[in-house]
């Protein structure tokens, strides 16, 4: 059985995520510091809160460099929601701040035109734009559960799926062995679990 690590910087509840992985037959390792990163074959970076704060929390627990080393070695990393956002180079939330820079692009506020209420919260359609191993067995046009006000802006080559709300934004992104999902797979029932399972069995090659 593969070792799946979940980065735990103490913000937010990881019960659903670890419960989902247990339900899939894995025994996830909650990482409070970076000492065990090398023992993990796949790593998940969850996140709640604001961009700047989250990066600070990651720095405070000494995760930044080990995480960069891990990803640069081509090992699989999945960022969820804010965890996806901090994979990018730069974010606007809570003042402009640098992210991990593992995916080229930036995080900015969703368009506030057209009178769409923000945050964008609820079930919305995810349209695949490229094929990828972690999307195997999931239909395009399926709904996933979103809660966010900020979104990614990056080259199309890094986009695996898009979603429409006040604008069309990337809902799954990737760069070599690093994947990011703007929605919450651990709250998205059957298809969410399938995505998590695919990621857990993925070895990071495209």
């Amino acid at each position: 059985m593969k070792t799946i690590g979940i980065i735990d910087t103490g913000i937010g509840n990881l019960g659903s995520l670890s419960g989902a992985l247990e339900g899939l037959g894995f025994d996830p390792l909650l990482l409070k510091d970076a000492s065990m990163i090398d023992d993990c074959e796949n790593l998940i970076l969850p996140g709640v809160g604001a961009f700047a704060h989250s990066i600070l929390a990651l720095d405070a627990s000494g995760f930044r460099q080990p995480l960069l080393d891990y990803a640069k070695a081509g090992r699989p990393l999945l960022g969820i929601c804010l965890g996806m956002q901090i994979l990018f180079s730069e974010g606007d939330e809570g003042g402009s701040s640098a992210g991990l820079g593992l995916i080229p692009g930036r995080i900015r506020h969703l368009s506030q035109d057209n009178g769409f209420p923000l945050p964008h919260i609820g079930w919305n359609t995810v349209n695949f734009t490229q094929k990828h191993e972690i999307l195997c067995g999931i239909k395009s046009d399926i709904d996933f559960y979103f809660v966010h006000s900020y979104c990614a802006e990056c080259e199309d080559s890094h986009v695996l799926a898009t979603t429409e709300y006040s604008e069309t934004f990337p809902s799954i992104v990737f760069h070599s062995s690093v994947i990011g999902a703007q929605f919450h797979p651990e709250k998205s029932q059957r298809s969410g679990l399938k995505l998590l399972e695919n990621f857990c069995w993925w070895n990071g090659t495209c």
């Binding site: 019960g15 670890s18 919260i121 609820g122």
Partner: protein
């Protein structure tokens, strides 16, 4: 496109789920974890879990059940009942709640609404409003339908939204458990005052009632009796509503 939602409501009383009529006459309807798992497998879009114990009601008991539910049901879970402090709310978020429901504290403890939205965001705060139709105008009640309030429905909605409420959960007390249809007049009154998503509850007895409420502008329909009594479930509701072009979640 954002989807409309179908939400089973689970009422927790002394470690069991019950179903009420007009907020009284409790009937046992099962175990909290097992019922939640059934709804999860029947493709419900969200769960609302409310502790309705009137004596010694403690969010700690709710949290204990919630922790087990959140480990098995990978869907948004909205939780409330007796929350009087930010510590209560935090305990529920830490146990797996995605949103908390505030009712009584929404009248005389508005600072709590602000504290919750400041720490967790307005998407995490649902304000529940219980209404009884007395005469021509709706009267609002706090404390599980026991204490009448002087404030009008539209004023109260405006006030709680100003304090950060991200959603309104509107419950018609006289329709509760009657299964004769949602209070569409009440829904219409509330919707005109409400710029956040509105969840209507109380009275669903047929999938057609859900259709009426969606057409009248509800973002979500919540129900208890419909799914508890009779061979009805969220999957069947969706199969029915799909014929009326209502945008619903696909998994």
């Amino acid at each position: 496109m954002l989807k409309r939602r179908i939400i089973p409501v689970e009422l927790l009383l002394n470690d069991r789920l019950v179903k009420t009529v007009a907020f009284g006459k409790h009937r046992d309807v099962g175990d909290p974890l097992k019922s939640s798992q059934v709804y999860y497998n029947q493709d419900a879009d969200e769960l609302i879990l409310l502790n309705i114990g009137r004596n010694q009601r403690s969010p700690r008991d709710t949290a204990n059940h919630l922790r087990n539910i959140a480990k098995k049901c990978f869907m948004p879970i909205t939780v409330g009942g007796g929350i009087t402090s930010i510590e209560d709310a935090s305990m529920l978020f830490n146990a797996g709640a995605d949103k908390v429901v505030i009712n009584s504290a929404g009248y005389d403890q508005k600072s709590l609404l602000e504290q919750i939205t400041e720490r967790y965001g307005s998407q995490a705060l649902v304000v529940s409003i219980d209404v009884r139709n007395t005469g021509n105008s709706p009267t609002l009640f706090s404390d599980c339908g026991r204490c009448p309030k002087a404030v009008s429905l539209t004023d109260h909605i405006k006030q709680v939204i100003d304090c950060g409420a991200g959603e309104i959960f509107l419950n018609a007390i006289d329709r509760d458990g009657i299964m004769g249809g949602y209070d569409l007049d009440l829904l219409d009154k509330a919707r005109k005052a409400c710029r956040v998503p509105l969840i209507i509850c109380g009275g669903a007895g047929h999938y057609l009632h859900m259709r009426e409420a969606f057409n009248a502008g509800a973002a979500a329909v919540a129900c208890g009796s419909l799914f508890n009594f009779g061979d009805n479930n969220p999957l069947r509701a969706k199969a029915f509503l799909k014929n009326y072009n209502i945008p619903l979640k696909r998994t």
